[in-house]
């Protein structure tokens, strides 16, 4: 009995355990439902899922996808929440309440949401899916309350960190605004979602993008999906900042930018219903300070990596190559920040190009081509967020030595190969006509598959290692539970 109780306590009562559970669940869902699309679908492997009772009615495809995205997103939000409650000072009791609520919420959502979507439309399951989401929202309310930055107990006393003259912790304020914006944006999607849900008329935003008269509820759905992904990215940037101990002058510049940018983007998205024509411009204006803030973090983090490494090597006057080698010596830390930079090439730059040249170029293509560009665009953004979380988790898990190198570099190179190839696929009509596209398409899809397969393989390896470890009496899990690295970080942060 103790065997199970000990493991349960680790998995559900420690930050690292909770993150591990969420990553494992995401991995299982991704691996199994990956049979339904891409190369597995083309190989006909999808039929293997029919044997376990999966029902795929063509009419329900959009609804299935929506449920899948939501369940995966909830797990990612849960991971971010665990990390926030560990890294940002708050009462232990608050941390326990928040983590407990969101854990039950996302697991119920995931299990019953996917049950509803893929195993026949049992509306009891749908009700439980909604109940799970409600718990997640409740956890968000608790998190916002716990993050309340004007609480005197959490005034910032460190002069090297961004704060107001009155001592208001601007990083905490950034977390707080992100959390409040997320709650508002959830409602922004939940209202039209509940209406469409009751009418059983689900749709994918990319399918209605060329309709000249979108209803306010359709616009709200489009706004919702954009802002949620953005806020997940903002939260992750702030989390990575805590991981790296972001501080000093750059921190003092970055935090106000992050706050202002988050507010402007959120306002822009919420305004998409009444003022669609100018909403995108507002969003672009807000994105700029957020991007600058994240690049300041990258600069800080890379400088820190280099300095720490050179200090370890006792190199006081390094050459350029020694500096570069120092930067690249730890792929997990380097990679988490590199992915933020790479995002500018394969997401931001492509997105800005598509927005600027929308009528002139993109909309001279067919709707299907534009759809590929859009879906590829946000899949890459979601993928980059996932890889950053993965790199951070690998660091938390204490991977060391050659395995750390192999894991880190495979994640970085594999994912970047895939994301770069998808960026080419998105914009292929710029280089090649439909008649001549097949070889290019085959090549970029091959490269995408290779890249993603590499990442999924090392992720599978990591999960397998952690699974085996759980069966050891004195495994790493016990160390993490009794003397977790997270605990050290928590103490440092508090």
């Amino acid at each position: 009995m103790n065997f199970l109780v000990d493991r349960f306590n680790y998995l559900f009562r420690s930050t690292k355990g909770l993150v591990l559970v969420a990553i494992a669940l995401i991995s299982i869902v991704t691996a199994s439902l990956g049979f339904l699309s891409g190369p597995m679908e083309e190989f006909g492997v999808r039929k293997a899922l029919f044997a376990i009772g999966v029902k795929l009615l063509p009419v329900d495809r959009e609804a299935r996808i929506i449920m899948l995205y939501h369940t995966l997103a909830m797990a990612v939000v849960a991971i971010e929440t665990y990390l926030i409650t560990a890294l940002v000072p708050m009462k232990k009791s608050d941390q326990a309440r928040i983590n407990g609520s969101i854990t039950v919420g996302y697991i119920v959502s995931l299990v019953f949401g996917l049950g509803f979507a893929y195993f026949g439309k049992n509306y009891v399951f749908h009700g439980l899916f909604i109940a799970g989401q409600t718990l997640i929202f409740f956890a968000g309310v608790l998190l916002s309350a716990a993050l309340f930055p004007w609480n005197k107990a959490y005034l910032q006393r460190d002069s090297e960190r961004a704060r107001t003259r009155g001592g208001l912790d601007l990083e905490r304020l950034a977390f707080f605004i992100m959390a409040i914006a997320t709650l508002g944006s959830v409602i922004f999607g939940a209202i039209p979602g509940s209406l469409f849900g009751n009418g059983f008329e689900s749709f994918l935003a990319e399918d209605i993008l060329r309709e000249p008269d979108k209803t306010p509820l359709q616009l709200a759905i489009i706004g919702h999906l954009h802002i949620m992904l953005t806020l997940i990215a903002v939260a992750l940037t702030l989390i990575v900042g805590r991981w790296f101990g972001f501080r000093g002058r750059l921190h003092k510049v970055a935090m106000p930018l992050m706050i202002i940018g988050t507010l402007i983007i959120t306002a822009g998205v919420w305004m998409v219903v009444p003022f669609e024509a100018i909403a995108h411009m507002i969003i672009n204006v807000g994105s700029f300070p957020v991007l600058i803030a994240s690049l300041l973090l990258v600069y800080f983090g890379w400088r820190q990596i280099i300095r720490q490494r050179l200090s370890e090597q006792k190199l006081t006057k390094p050459t350029l190559w020694q500096g570069l080698a120092a930067l690249l010596h730890d792929p997990l830390k380097f990679g988490a920040l590199w992915q933020m930079v790479y995002m500018n090439f394969v997401v931001t730059a492509v997105g800005i190009f598509m927005a600027i040249k929308l009528d002139e170029i993109i909309r001279t293509w067919t709707h299907r081509e534009e759809r590929i560009a859009l879906t590829g665009h946000w899949h890459v953004l979601a993928g980059i967020i996932a890889t950053i979380i993965l790199l951070y988790y690998a660091d938390l898990a204490g991977i060391k030595g050659k395995i750390r190198q192999w894991f880190g570099w495979i994640v970085i190179l594999g994912s970047d190969l895939a994301f770069g190839a998808v960026a080419v696929l998105e914009t292929r009509r710029l280089f090649v006509s439909e008649f001549a596209q097949q070889r290019l398409t085959d090549t970029v899809i091959f490269l995408t598959d290779i890249g993603l397969a590499s990442v999924l393989t090392v992720l599978g390896g990591l999960m397998f290692w952690r699974l085996i470890d759980l069966f050891r009496k004195r495994g790493r899990w016990r160390q993490e539970f009794q003397d977790p690295q997270m605990g050290k970080i928590e103490e440092e942060c508090k």
Binding site: R210, E211, T364, R368, S433, A436, T441
Partner: protein, 300 residues
């Protein structure tokens, strides 16, 4: 050494990806036994529109072509229309007059003004027609394949020359679906040998890759061709290729947008795009190797 091999591999991959394929000059003729000049009668009355099956109705009977317009049919039409001065040659294209659309000034809307508009670019890669300055012909073996590279203007002009018109969105959908809620013209599931779609592994994909090539109209009718067995895939009213092979232009013009709509999915699309309610759209002067059409006409 390892690095060199890796670089060489990347170089070869890129070269392979960028080299342009050549246009096929002929293909093996396949007789499907389906008459491309046949029309199906669709009775007036209710049907279920779209993915969410909204009740809709068409007030009058109409007829629609059993298959897509073929290369041979379009070549014959073009030759006659050119001789009669109904269309004219402009460089490597055929253009014709269109009276223009009302402009509403909506966001992203572009003006479609009165004037000559592109009907078909006949020397583009992927075109299955040849032109000797006077006569258009289908490439050998492609006579009974659906014509492609025809713009909405070119499709509309052809149908009107035959005394018909392009089908409206609703007419197309009812003809494909009948009066029940089926997602595909033949029923509820899509099998690989039921339609020509991306990676459906039809006999043309062996030559042209996953995007494949057009299949002859009415190809999926239960016959076996050189060992490749097809499933019967006609719609409830006996129409072929209402899912896959080529997208089909429809006539419906939506106020506030200059786009024209395409139905049915194509050889270049994944199977889910073949569901009856799937729509695509493009500018009316857009032509592509996966876009064709069929005509409708009023019942006299």
């Amino acid at each position: 050494m390892k690095r060199s091999i890796l670089l060489l591999l990347v170089y070869v991959l890129l070269l392979t990806a960028c080299s342009a394929p050549t246009s096929p000059l002929s293909t093996t003729p396949i007789d499907t036994g389906i008459d491309p000049s046949a029309w199906a009668h669709i009775p007036a009355g209710p049907f279920l529109r779209g993915q969410h099956q909204h009740p809709a109705s068409i007030p009058v009977d109409y007829e629609i072509m059993v298959t897509d317009v073929t290369n041979a049919q379009y070549a014959t039409y073009l030759t006659q229309a050119l001789a009669q001065g109904k269309v004219r040659q402009s460089g490597d294209t055929i253009v014709g007059y269109y009276p223009g659309d009302p402009f509403h000034g909506a966001r992203h809307e572009e003006k479609i003004e009165a004037g000559d508009w592109l009907h078909i670019p006949f020397r583009e890669p992927g075109s299955k027609l040849t032109f000797n300055g006077k006569t258009f012909r289908a490439l050998p073996g492609y006579e009974n394949h659906p014509v492609v590279m025809v713009t909405w203007f070119g499709a509309k002009a052809y149908c009107e020359a035959q005394g018909g018109r392009l089908p409206s969105d609703d007419e197309w959908e009812k003809a494909a679906r009948g009066t029940d809620d089926r997602p595909f013209p033949w029923g509820n599931q899509l099998e690989r040998n039921q339609a020509n779609y991306y990676s459906s592994r039809d006999i043309f994909e062996k030559v042209f890759g996953k995007q494949g090539d057009t299949t002859p109209v009415g190809f999926y009718n239960g016959k076996t061709y050189s060992g490749y067995a097809t499933l019967a895939a006609a719609s409830p009213y006996g129409l072929y290729d209402m899912a896959g092979n080529v997208w089909q232009w429809v006539s419906t013009i939506t106020p506030g947008t200059h786009y024209r709509f395409l139905r049915g999915g194509s050889k270049a699309d994944y199977g889910y795009n073949l569901r009856i309610w799937s729509r695509n759209s493009a500018r009316p002067d857009y032509a592509a190797i996966s876009i064709g059409f069929r005509c409708a006409r009023n019942v006299k």
